[in-house]
């Protein structure tokens, strides 16, 4: 009886899935931003990112951003732009960092980019990440103070 019950459950599970073609199944093919960190310092030590964090996550300028993008194929360009800072409510681009990456025909599970950024004054900023000139992510950023 128990075996028959188990078989019935198995059949109930399998029947709805019958006839589903693999071509219709979802596939992750587009890169996405998995992580964006703002750090006091990042160094490349033997191919690994060595990080120094800000105390209590109070970000000060100059700072480093560390961007991790997953599911990337071929070669291309990543651009990170920072906006704001020129007075209250300003939306002017003040920093642009561009990175070339990859080789044609290659797949990368993830790629990490980092660079140093300096902004003129404390306040609210916005950053945007472009993959081959297409925006893939953007968010806000608060700079607490300027280090001398």
């Amino acid at each position: 009886m128990i075996r028959l019950g188990g078989l019935a459950v198995l059949l109930l599970l399998l029947i709805p899935g019958c006839g589903v073609k693999t071509a219709y199944l979802p596939r992750v093919e587009y890169p996405y931003v998995a992580e964006m960190e703002f750090l006091k310092e990042v160094r490349n030590v033997d191919g690994k990112a060595k990080k120094r964090h800000f105390k209590e996550d109070r970000i000060a300028s100059p700072f480093y951003f560390l961007l991790k993008i997953k599911e990337i194929e071929n070669d291309g360009t990543i651009t990170v732009c920072f906006y704001g800072g020129e007075g209250k409510g300003s939306n002017v681009k003040i920093v642009e960092k561009t990175f070339q990456f990859g080789k044609p025909g290659k797949y990368y599970e993830y790629v990490i980019f980092f660079d140093r950024v300096e902004v003129p004054r404390p306040g609210k900023y916005r950053y945007a990440v472009f993959y081959n000139d297409h925006l893939i992510y953007e968010d806000k950023l608060k700079i607490e103070r300027i280090s001398r």
Binding site: L13, L14, P16, G17, G19, V20, Y24, L25, P26, R27, V28, E29, Y30, P31, Y32, V33, A34, E35, V45, D46, F54, K55, E56, R58, A60, K70, E71, C81, Y83, N91, V92, K93, R126, A128, F130, D133, H134, L135, I136, Y137, E138, D139, K140, R145, S147
Partner: protein, 611 residues
């Protein structure tokens, strides 16, 4: 025949209008990949995104969408085409390009954003606040849900019902059988009487549980309830083996107004119940409430309490209220109180209460209490005063306190932080036939640093705490706590030495007596975030003699398994106090299963743990 043709045409027009208006109430998405997390009610999409709805067709590359609030954004090479034409308009719309389109609500409102040398906005600029704060949840984060779905197309209506085709459900991160069609009800449940499956969960409190949602929407009764069947014994949890928990709140409406509302909790496992019934009224100058609470547990007497309250609507800065409480026996209390909002950051509360207890323990007290709170950018201040007179035994209790807390002050680029707080307390309590007064005042100063870089890659983390207490009885002491740690990281290896000293100095007439305790740790750690971590610790006692050695280790194994070990060796006994080795498997940050051997327990074990 002509009539029939006209009727048919009219029907077709009405049908097309209905379909058109229905389309406005639905968002249709297509793309290479969508992920819906049931825990977060959030959708991520990537690759060739196409959104149709709200009179627009939008193409883009990436979608982030909160299904609960029906808010989202499409990023990428976004192309927007108006599809809904206005009445009598013959205009052909052109495709427009943006970097992002934010949408909100149903039918959706739109905000377009372009990132060039400047961020420029179009559409409804009133949505800028939403643009500023919309939270993006990446697929990695969403995949930590206990249940999520992957698919290539879906539609979502104003009731947040998500209908998707060719869906692959993932339970605890494992793919299950693909489904041709799938519907998920999100957000608000429908406004009708219904029973629905809610979830399967595992917690340390209830073990494995299966929950159902019961909604009552009848003329005589409205309510939302949770019915939870739980099993604890199977997972070797102590206490109640299994049971059913029924909880929720509801109301009895009369002429569209709620006559009574209630909360209910029944637990068959613990043999307990609690029911609270309330009635509220609101008039121009006052509001009132009547409440009856009844609760009980196996082998314990039933508890009954009736509470009534009347609150006068605001009189200048006063909001006076009167509360009467009765247990349907001989005990009762009445209370008059008023909060006073003197200034937006200054609050005063004044109240008086008479409490009469009868039965085996008799008492009759009259209590007067005030509290004052002030919160500013630099400091926080609070003060309380209580005066209580026992009218049966004719004694008085008094206490008064003042607290002042300065908000942290930071120096040297946040490397040094000062925390200062002080207090004063006075109390007068009965002690036999007399009263005993006590004054106490204290000061607490904490100075700490989260680490200072030193030459040769060393890091120094000092901390100092000063605490002084004085009162007019006997206590008059000062505590000093110092700690300092020196770290030296070399690649994956970190060596550190941490020393701490705690001292107390007490004034005794002309003498000052003091004592102190110290300890030291010597730590060696090797760590690879993804694969392994080992920590070897030497602990030195007050005489700075070696007391014990411990070793904690973790190694990542295939199939998300982790091997863990813990060893503790006491140098005085010259033997191991415990050795524990076990293998652990975590399921999507929800449940951990451990199996191994413990020398302290002298047995093999299997444990289920929540995370």
């Amino acid at each position: 025949m002509e009539k029939f043709t006209k009727f048919l045409c009219l029907k077709l027009v009405l049908l097309s209008l209905a379909l058109f208006s229905g389309a406005e109430e639905t968002l249709r998405f297509k793309g290479d990949y969508f992920l819906f997390s049931d825990d977060h009610s959030y959708i991520y999409g990537g690759g060739n995104i196409l959104l149709k709805g709200g009179g627009r067709q939008i193409k883009g590359d990436v979608l982030y969408m909160d299904a609960r609030s029906l808010t989202g954004v499409i990023y990428g090479d976004v192309r927007v085409l108006e599809t809904a034409k206005k009445k009598n308009e013959d205009k052909k719309y052109e495709e427009k390009k943006y970097d992002a389109v934010f949408f909100k609500g149903m039918p959706p409102r739109w905000l377009t954003v372009s990132y060039t040398d400047e961020i420029t906005f179009g559409g409804e600029t009133a949505l800028k606040g939403f643009f500023m704060n919309f939270e993006k949840k990446p697929p990695e984060f969403l995949k930590n849900s206990s249940l999520y779905f992957e698919f290539r197309e879906f539609r979502i209506d104003k009731n947040q019902k998500i209908r998707a085709r060719i869906v692959v459900p993932y339970m605890m991160g494992l793919p299950t059988v693909p489904l041709k069609r799938f519907t998920v009800n999100r957000g608000e449940w429908e406004e009708k009487t219904m029973v629905a499956f809610h979830n399967v969960n595992y917690t340390g409190v209830y073990g494995l549980s299966l929950s159902f949602f019961l909604r009552m929407r009848e003329k005589w009764q409205k309510g939302d309830y949770d019915i939870k069947f739980y099993e604890r014994k199977l997972f070797k949890l102590d206490g109640v083996k299994r049971g059913v928990l029924f909880s929720g709140k509801g109301g009895v409406p009369v002429k569209k107004k709620e006559l009574l509302d209630y909360t209910v909790l029944l637990n068959s496992g613990e043999q307990s119940f609690n029911l609270r019934v309330n009635h509220r009224g609101d008039f121009k100058y006052f509001s009132y409430s009547l409440s009856q609470n009844i609760s009980g547990r196996e082998n314990q007497p039933t508890f009954l309490e009736f509470v009534s309250n009347i609150t006068i609507k605001k009189l200048f800065i006063f909001v006076p209220g009167f509360t009467f409480t009765h247990d349907w026996k001989e005990s009762y209390s009445y209370k008059v109180s008023t909060p006073l909002k003197v200034w937006k950051k200054l609050n005063l509360n004044v109240g008086w209460q008479r409490k009469i207890l009868a039965g085996t323990y008799r008492s009759d007290t009259s209590d007067f209490s005030t509290s004052l709170n002030f919160d500013s950018k630099i400091f926080r201040f609070s003060s309380n005063y209580n005066f209580s007179r026992n009218l049966v035994e004719a004694y008085v209790r008094k206490n008064f306190s003042v607290n002042l807390y300065l908000k942290p002050v930071r120096f040297l680029e946040d490397n040094v932080v000062f925390d200062i707080s002080s207090y004063y307390m006075f109390s007068s309590l009965p002690y036999g036939d007399q009263t005993r007064d006590r004054n106490a005042q204290g000061l607490n100063v904490t100075v700490y640093s989260e680490g200072v870089s030193m030459p040769l890659g060393f890091q120094l983390v000092p901390s100092f705490t000063f605490n002084h207490l004085w009162d007019d009885q006997q206590e008059n002491f000062t505590d000093f706590n110092y700690s300092v740690a020196l770290l030296k990281p070399v690649g994956k290896f970190t060596a550190s030495v941490a020393y701490s000293l705690a001292s107390r100095y007490r004034a005794e007439n002309f003498w000052i007596e003091g004592n102190s305790r110290q300890n030291m740790n010597l730590n060696f750690e090797i760590k690879d975030k993804e694969r392994y971590s080992f920590l070897l610790r030497f602990y030195y006692d007050n005489a700075l003699a070696l007391e014990n050695i411990s070793l904690t280790g973790k190694v990542g194994l295939p199939f998300d398994l982790t091997f863990s070990s813990f060893l503790l060796y006491y140098s005085e006994d010259k033997k191991f106090r415990t050795v524990e080795v076990f293998i652990e498997k975590a399921f999507k940050k929800k449940i951990r299963i451990q199996g191994g051997y413990s020398l302290a327990l002298k047995r093999f074990f299997i444990k289920f743990l929540t995370m």
